[in-house]
């Protein structure tokens, strides 16, 4: 892992218009998110359902047009049709649902081969077939099954097809959008380990989106925590996991089950009051203040900036001194 920044996300915003009678409401799915990812590292992105983590991944890959903000890859600003098309060769995505994300009318070799066709990554048919065979071997699929359709495979195998497809263009960076949450627990570990093996082998950089904190801690170099479209804490994986600072991260981590009743009983589970506010009607200032046990007047006035609390560990909270 190097200190070279591979991906820089600056003040990224993604708002969706939600029709509401004659007017339309703004849903701030991602609101002013800034972070970078170093080459070769895995940034784990966590948060509860609906906090905008998937939208962050998709917007970075320009599957949604960003409302505002910039994405730099290898120092280059990603904007405009041509740049985006080139960008698709370097950055790919593994989707959450291995059942619905594969076109049911295509065979495995078509699914994996299409990115090769689109970006013209082979000179003859034999090379294409060879490449597909290599990719299938790489993710642990038998290349004899290349002419089968996606529905003939199990969930874990389908996710492997999705990974082979993402790897087809030889990318440097992959957004893994909850890649194991749709799989059986027994398969999850296999797939997570495969992600790690592939990273070591191919020098990949990951943005690993998940809500399973144990999986994220296992695979990540650093962890970023989101709440209601905002980034509230980011730091080295072990530190965020064992010594969380932001009150939201603290409560989130207290919810992680511990497989030992003695420890579990001794641990104090922090229950948050109330529900997550609707992203259509965001509270003023810090979005977490309506549920935060430490909220004060300042929290209602402005959104706290990310402050470096420890080296490389940033937290956005008025109550935490930098």
């Amino acid at each position: 892992m190097s200190d070279k920044k591979l991906l820089e996300v600056k003040h990224l915003k993604e708002y969706f218009d939600i029709p509401n009678g004659l007017r339309s409401l703004k849903l701030k799915a991602v609101d002013d998110v800034t972070f970078d990812i170093n080459e070769g590292e895995t940034l784990g992105l966590v948060g509860e359902s609906g906090c905008g983590k998937t939208t962050v991944g998709r917007t970075i890959l320009q599957l949604y047009k960003p409302t505002a903000g910039e994405v730099y890859f290898d120092g280059e600003l990603i904007r405009g049709k041509k740049t985006i098309h080139e960008f698709r060769k370097k950055a790919q995505m593994v989707f959450q649902d291995p059942y619905s994300s594969l076109d049911p009318r295509m065979t495995v070799s078509d699914i994996i081969g299409e990115p090769l066709d689109v970006h013209k990554l082979y000179s003859n048919k034999a090379e294409r077939t060879e490449k597909i065979k290599y990719l299938m071997d790489l993710v642990g699929l038998s290349s004899e099954h290349a002419s089968r359709y996606a529905h003939e495979f199990s969930g874990g195998q389908r996710q492997r097809i999705g990974i082979a497809r993402a790897l087809a263009v030889d990318p440097k960076f992959i957004v893994c959008d909850e890649p194991v949450s749709a799989l059986d627990v027994s398969i999850q570990a296999q797939v997570v380990n495969m992600f790690e093996d592939l990273q070591a082998k191919l020098g990949l950089t990951y943005l690993f989106i998940a809500h399973d904190l144990l999986v994220v801690k296992h695979i990540s170099t650093r962890i970023a925590v989101m709440y209601l479209g905002k980034l509230i804490e980011i730091g080295p994986a072990n530190e965020v996991y064992h010594e969380p600072i932001h009150p939201y991260t603290v409560s989130l981590l207290s919810a992680v089950p511990v497989p030992d009743p003695k420890i579990a009983r001794a641990n104090q589970r922090i229950h948050l009051e109330g529900d997550v506010p609707s992203p259509l009607h965001m509270p003023s200032g810090c979005p977490f203040r309506t549920r935060c046990p430490h909220a004060c007047d300042a929290c209602a006035e402005s959104m706290p900036e990310l402050k470096e609390v420890k080296p490389g560990h940033f937290v956005a909270c008025h109550k935490i001194e930098g």
């Binding site: 998709r58 890959l61 599957l63 098309h85 698709r88 060769k89 790919q92 995505m93 989707f95 649902d97 619905s100 994300s101 594969l102 076109d103 049911p104 009318r105 065979t107 299409e114 990115p115 689109v118 970006h119 359709y149 529905h151 999705g162 497809r165 263009v169």
Partner: protein
């Protein structure tokens, strides 16, 4: 897989023969149960002549015997003579009418499928825009308006107000309006089917996967989306083609096209028994074949469909 498909086709064909046989039987007895006969017009011939004619066509025998005789003839490929069109064989009359209806129908069906698919896809891609709204209003209108109104309106507008096309279907250029009137309703139906199916498919995850691969927008729409969206259309198109090929009574009447639809209707009012049977069998067979074909297409377009 291919032997499975062959077995399936054989099974379906056997079933089809049974279906057609059932239709023959039901039609035969229902037809005989309707009061009246082929020789009961205003200028009825004398009872002696009627009796002689009935004896000639075997109508004096018990119904069940007539039925057995008819089936025997049918097995030899003999549809019998037409009663009203003296000296003509039913099979020849059907083929003559079908030649006309099928030509119009084939063009109309192609128009309906191609334009319907394109308009439906356009409406879905530009969902909620004015393009979508215009297409939806028009297609709803043409699905709802009955064909005799459409045909008459077209006649009024393009033959009388602006005499661009002839009103008679027998002269050159005369088939343009009948073909348009034939195709408008199925075209609108296909448009609506394609649109709703496309909207569903465009929201699917694998469309996003295709975009993430870097597939161009046009290709995403035609290769990934339309191919997946076409399934419900296939189900509709099979029987639609059978109907449209056998001609529409209304359209053929309005534009004086000598097609099969006209024959079918007049043979019923005339109690031309062999003619009714012949056209019914023809229509039923065509329908069964088209349904079978659309099921096979289904399999080709959707590998997940298990035929067995």
């Amino acid at each position: 897989m291919d032997s499975k498909l062959a077995l399936y086709i054989v099974k379906r064909l056997l079933l089809a023969i049974f279906t057609v046989f059932l239709i023959i039987t039901i039609t035969f007895f229902v037809m005989k149960a309707i009061p009246g006969g082929p020789f009961l017009s205003e200028k009825s011939p004398s009872p002696e002549v009627t009796a002689a004619l009935e004896a000639k066509y075997g109508l004096d025998k018990p119904v069940f015997e007539q039925y057995i005789t008819y089936l025997k003839d049918l097995l030899r490929g003999d549809f019998g003579p037409s009663i009203k069109n003296r000296g003509r064989q039913v099979i020849d009359l059907i083929m003559e009418g079908f030649a006309v209806s099928a030509k119009n129908g084939l063009i109309a069906a192609c128009l309906a499928i191609v334009i319907g698919l394109v308009l439906g896809a356009l409406a879905a891609v530009f969902h909620d825009s004015w393009i979508d709204k215009t297409i939806m209003v028009l297609s709803t209108a043409f699905v709802a308006i009955p064909s005799f109104v459409v045909a008459t309106l077209l006649l009024l507008i393009f033959c009388i107000t602006f005499p661009i096309f002839p009103a008679n279907g027998n002269v050159s250029g005369g088939l343009v309006l009948p073909i348009i009137s034939l195709s408008l309703s199925p075209m609108s139906y296909i448009t609506r089917l394609t649109r709703s199916s496309m909207l569903d498919v465009l929201g699917q995850d694998y469309i996003r996967t295709a975009r993430a691969k870097g597939v161009s927008n046009t290709k995403v729409i035609f290769k990934h989306a339309l191919k997946n969206a076409v399934t419900p259309v296939i189900t509709y198109v099979g029987p639609m083609i059978a109907y449209i090929l056998t001609g529409s009574l209304v359209v053929e009447k309005v534009f004086a096209v000598p097609g099969l639809g006209d024959f079918f209707f007049s043979s019923i009012t005339n109690r031309d028994y062999p003619m009714v049977m012949g056209t019914t069998i023809f229509l039923a067979t065509l329908m069964v074949i088209m349904t079978l074909l659309s099921d096979i297409c289904y399999k080709i377009f959707d590998p997940r469909v298990d035929l067995s």
